[in-house]
C-alpha cells in the first residue's frame, strides 16, 4: 500500500508548527504516513511521532541546505518507496525544494494550499493574490502539496508505537547550485509567513526610527513586524517585511495595521488574518472597511497606549 510522505522541518530539535500541520493532515488521510527529515538529530524525533510507522532520516546531506542534493535525495526516496503523495508546509525551504522535486519526478504540485482532500486528491489554493480560489485536482503519478501555515490544525492525534527509523544516505550528486554561505537574519525575529501575530506599519510611521515603536508593541505580543510597500519603498523598513501582493502573504490570527491605508495590493497579502485591527488617523481610510476593529486616531498616541494595555491584559 502506498504511503503519504511528510517532509518536516525542525527548529531547536522540535518539529516546526507549520510542519506539524502537514503531518496532522497526512495522518487524517487514507494511507499510512512516513516522515522524512534532513535534520542532523532527526532520529530523535521518533519519540514524538507516535502513530507514524516510518521515519526516514537522511544523513550525509551536510549541515547547509544544498538544493540539488536535497532534491535528488527526495526523488530517490519517492521512487524507491513508490510514494505517491508528499506534503509539507509552504515554507521558504519547500518553496525551493518542492518545485525541484516535482520537476524531477514529473509530479503534480500544488503550492500554498488552504485545503487538501487526500482521498479525492484535490486542493484549494488562493490565486490572483487571493482574489480568487482555485480548486485543483492533481492528476499525476506522484503529487505534492505545500500547505499555507496557520490554516490547518496542528494537533496530532495520539497513536500507537513510535516509528521505525530508516537511515537514508543523501544522494551523491554535485551541488551545481551551490549554497556557499547562509547569513543569519536579525536574532529572534519572528518569520512573518508563519507568525501568529503581526504588527505592521505603513507610510504613517513616518521614518525608520519610529518602527521601534511597533517592535515594542510586537514584543509584548510575541509578534512579527510587517510593513506596507510604501514604508518599504521609503526605506523605513526592509523588503523582507513587506506584506502584500509583491511581498509576503501572511495569515496570522491577529494583524494590527498602523498607519496603513489599506490598498488592495496590501489587503490581499493579509486579508485571511483571523482578526484585523486598524489604527489610522483618517476615518475615511479604506482599511476601516476591511478591519474587524478600528480605532481612528494618531498612531503615535494609540500604539503606546495599546502596548501598555496589552501588558496589563497579558500578565
Amino acid at each position: 500500500m502506498s504511503r503519504t510522505l511528510v517532509f518536516v522541518e525542525t527548529q531547536d530539535g522540535k518539529i516546526k508548527k507549520a510542519s506539524r500541520e502537514a503531518l496532522a493532515l497526512a495522518l487524517s488521510g487514507p494511507v499510512p504516513v512516513a516522515v522524512v527529515t534532513f535534520a542532523e538529530d532527526g532520529a530523535d524525533l521518533a519519540a514524538g511521532l507516535s502513530g507514524v510507522p516510518t521515519l526516514f532520516h537522511v544523513t550525509g546531506a551536510g549541515d547547509i541546505y544544498q538544493p540539488d542534493i536535497h532534491a535528488a535525495t527526495l526523488e530517490n526516496l519517492i521512487r524507491e518507496n513508490g510514494i505517491k503523495t508528499v506534503v509539507a508546509a509552504h515554507s521558504a525551504r519547500s518553496r525551493d525544494l518542492f518545485p525541484r522535486v516535482a520537476a524531477r519526478v514529473k509530479a503534480g504540485l500544488v503550492t500554498d494550499c488552504v485545503a487538501v482532500n487526500l482521498e479525492e486528491m484535490c486542493a484549494v489554493k488562493p490565486v490572483y493574490s487571493g482574489k480568487l480560489l482555485a480548486r485543483i485536482k492533481v492528476n499525476a503519478g506522484v503529487n505534492l502539496f505545500t500547505l499555507r501555515p496557520n490554516v490547518f490544525p496542528a494537533e496530532i492525534p495520539e497513536g500507537k508505537g513510535i516509528p521505525e527509523v530508516v537511515a537514508v544516505s543523501a544522494a551523491d550528486v554535485p551541488a551545481r547550485c551551490r549554497v556557499v554561505e547562509v547569513a543569519a537574519g536579525a536574532a529572534g525575529r519572528v518569520d512573518l509567513t508563519e507568525a501568529a501575530v503581526i504588527v505592521s506599519g505603513g507610510r504613517g510611521i513616518k521614518n525608520k526610527e519610529n518602527f521601534a515603536l511597533l517592535q515594542e508593541l510586537a514584543d509584548v505580543l510575541n509578534a512579527g513586524v510587517g510593513a506596507s510597500r510604501a514604508a518599504v519603498d521609503a526605506e523605513f523598513a526592509e523588503y523582507n517585511m513587506q506584506v502584500g501582493q509583491t511581498g509576503k502573504v501572511v495569515n496570522p490570527k491577529l494583524y494590527v495595521a498602523c498607519g496603513i491605508s489599506g490598498a488592495i495590493q496590501h489587503f490581499v497579502g493579509m486579508k485571511t488574518s483571523k482578526v484585523i485591527v486598524a489604527i489610522n488617523k483618517d476615518p475615511e481610510a479604506p482599511i476601516f472597511k476591511k478591519a474587524d476593529y478600528g480605532i481612528v486616531g494618531d498612531l503615535f498616541e494609540i500604539v503606546p497606549l495599546l502596548k501598555a494595555e496589552l501588558e496589563k491584559a497579558l500578565n
Binding site: R95, L109, K137, V138, V180, E181, V277, E301, L306, L314
Partner: protein
Amino acid sequence: MNIFVCIKQVPDTEASLSVEGGRKVRESGLKWVISPYDEYALEAAIQLKEKTAGSTVTAITVGPARADGVLRTALAMGATAAVHVETDSELDHHAIAACLAAAVRSCGEPDIILAGKQAIDVDAGVLPLFLAQVMDLPAASGVIAMEVTDGLAKVEREIEGGARERIEMALPCVIGATKGLNTPRYPSLMGIMKAKKVEVKKFTPAELNVESLEPALLLESLSVPEEKAPGRVIEGEPADAVRELVRLLRDEAKVL
C-alpha cells in the same frame, strides 16, 4: 551574452476579478500588465546586456494572442528580440517549461535565463525551477541580489526571518527574480517606437514539439472567496477605545 527573460501577462494588480462559467476569469474590461516579478527579471537582463557588449535579450512568453502586449513592453524597455509561443490552452507548468525550453533553444545556446519568482495569477512560484530541470541547468529563485562575472553567477536569496543564502552557479543558469534585485525602468518613448517595428517570432506548442501530455493538474473551479462582514470602529477617547479594543480582542475575538 545570450540572455533570455520569461515573462507572463497577468491582470493589473488593481483589478477586481470575477469568474465566468465556473472556471474562467472574466476578461472583458481587464487591463493587462507584465507580472510584477518579471519586471525585475527584465531589468536585470537589460542591465546585463548593457554591461556586456554584443549581448542580446530575448523576451519569451507562452500565452494567448493578447500576451503579445507584454512582449512589446519588454522590447520598449530594452529587450532586443521576442518570442511568442501562442496557445489558448491552459498548460500546466511541465508543459510551459517545455515550451519555454524549446523556445530558448530555437534562438541558440543561452548564457542565462531570467524569470520572475512567481506569476501573480496562478501564484505557483515554480516555473524557474521547472525550466532549469527541463534544460538540465542549475537554478536559484527568489533572488534579491546577483552578480555575473567570468561565467559565474553569484546570487543571494532570502530565506526565513531575514536570513540569506549566498549561492554560486556556473553559467548557463536560471534565475528567478524578486523585489529588491533592482528598480525596473519605464519604457522610453523611443523604445516604444522601436518596439513596434520588431518582428516577434511566433510558434505554437506543436511546432516546438511539445506534445500535449496529460496535464498534471486540472483546474476544477474558480471562485470568489467570501468576504468577511465589515468590522466596527471603536469610538471614544483614545485610552477608553484602546481598553475596549483589548477587551474585544480577548473576550470576543479570543485572539489574545
